[in-house]
Symmetry: C2
Amino acid sequence: MASPQPQPQPQPSWLPPQLTTSPSPTIHALTTSLLPPLLSALSRIGLALRSSHRVSLAGSSNSFGDDQLNVDVACETIMRAALAQCPLVATASSEEDPEERQILHPDEPSENISSDERFSVAFDPLDGSSIIAANWTVGTIVGIWKGDSALGKDPSEQICSLMGVHGPRTTVIVAVREKAQDRGVCFELGLNDDGTVEVINHDVRLSAPPYKTRYFAPANLRYAAESPAYAALISSFITNKYTLRYCGGLVPDLGHILTKGHGVYVSPVAETSKAKLRRLYEVLPVGLVVECAGGKAVDEFGRRVLEKEVRGCDERGGIIFGNEDEVEEVVRVLFG
Amino acid sequence: MASPQPQPQPQPSWLPPQLTTSPSPTIHALTTSLLPPLLSALSRIGLALRSSHRVSLAGSSNSFGDDQLNVDVACETIMRAALAQCPLVATASSEEDPEERQILHPDEPSENISSDERFSVAFDPLDGSSIIAANWTVGTIVGIWKGDSALGKDPSEQICSLMGVHGPRTTVIVAVREKAQDRGVCFELGLNDDGTVEVINHDVRLSAPPYKTRYFAPANLRYAAESPAYAALISSFITNKYTLRYCGGLVPDLGHILTKGHGVYVSPVAETSKAKLRRLYEVLPVGLVVECAGGKAVDEFGRRVLEKEVRGCDERGGIIFGNEDEVEEVVRVLFG
């Protein structure tokens, strides 16, 4: 006996118009049944962080061997609870538990839901562990894939990503693109403690040249000591009077670029300087946001990050993202 | 007829032991009657920022000609309300209203309070306007001076400073040093929304070499394009594999160094690159925190920032601060 299908949900008032006008079943399911509980989870993570004054190691380590902080564990728990409540979520994996597993919904099994309304969720509950003790802004990253798995799929199947920004306020940047050829939409919301949601910007969009102020965010700057190309790039940023803004948190560094409408983030990779960013939990969700905001995101070889599928949860890579012309110039300097 | 003196207040439980054992009348007044309302104000600023999703210009500008944000105005109002409630505060000035003015307390005039229990407060209600829209951590800076004025006084009269850190949590770093020859104390507290205060660290202290990881925060990096000395310094940081952490907010950049126990912040000044930091609201309060944490803070000439008095509210300067040996090395490279 099949369980009842979930009741149709109303369209949230904070959605941008592009997503409310004759949405496909997939977009309708995503925006009415999956995004609302995820936004609530991000809001609860913000609340949990606010009282976590004594950030300490939880005494366990995740599968990548990183030390886990007690706040990592709290954020993971909040995300998992939200996914368990949402029958549309067929599978999930996270940076803290990097194996794609079925999410059980005993009352409403995901198998009973039409395949174009089922999703796989990949998330990093707390991005920025190295700066949380200093009380700097950190993030939560979520990638949402069509169907029952994110692995081995064309990256265009990742139709939505969210960057929860936990700073003085709790905000979220959302990107949605249903088909590879669409322009996509990127918008920013404010999440209040009482669960209400405010629209900050319905159309987050990187600027076109000429720019008033130009920003750069050089990750792994120490690598410039070994790489003449990276050193030349840094010199050219300085000579050309770019303003440095680099907090070392992927989400806030991305958020700064989107808020200012300009910036270029460079995380180079080399034999002596292994890639640290996870493609499934960090690189691909960021790639979707950047492209939906009109920018460009390429990997450590200068190729579009959203071109190559993710084969395993622990795959890592580099990323260069920002305004299209800036990224192209960085690629030219780094790769010739 | 003299108004009644304020009732003696109990010692707050969050004070470090150095400040509770036979405190002088000045320290007793400071810690029991002035710090508690200031911590409440910082907590309220955190609350105000949390709901300020639409950060926008307030349509006015302060006396320095900066554009004022609506959140600047809200934070200034909260601070002024706290000072008005505290009879020990004789005068105050702020970056938003940079003129030292008497604070009126009609019920308990400050003149009735013994001169060694009267204070002048200098504050920057919201430091980091350029990064607040991106939802990055920002700060509130408070300098507390003995007596009725901060101007023209020996900087050792600044006996306390507070760095409110508004990030995922609301925290505060407090430095207290009553006499120039004292070592001073630096401690960190967590401020909860309900007004309760938690001790995070009663003894904030910079590490001594050897360091595990070394951090640098180069402000005004564009100046390296003009200054061979600054360019050489940056190169040496890169060559020596220092880790870059620079968010561009003075308070969070200081907080990161204190949390990690290591780091050096460099804000150079030159003819072509005028000083932006205000000595009264930024440089001197930071200097006290750094020294009380066992570090060193020097100005753009390599002199201790706490050596020269502040002659006017709009005086500006550069600053280099962090672990003593690191600051000395920077001074050597920059000034020979």
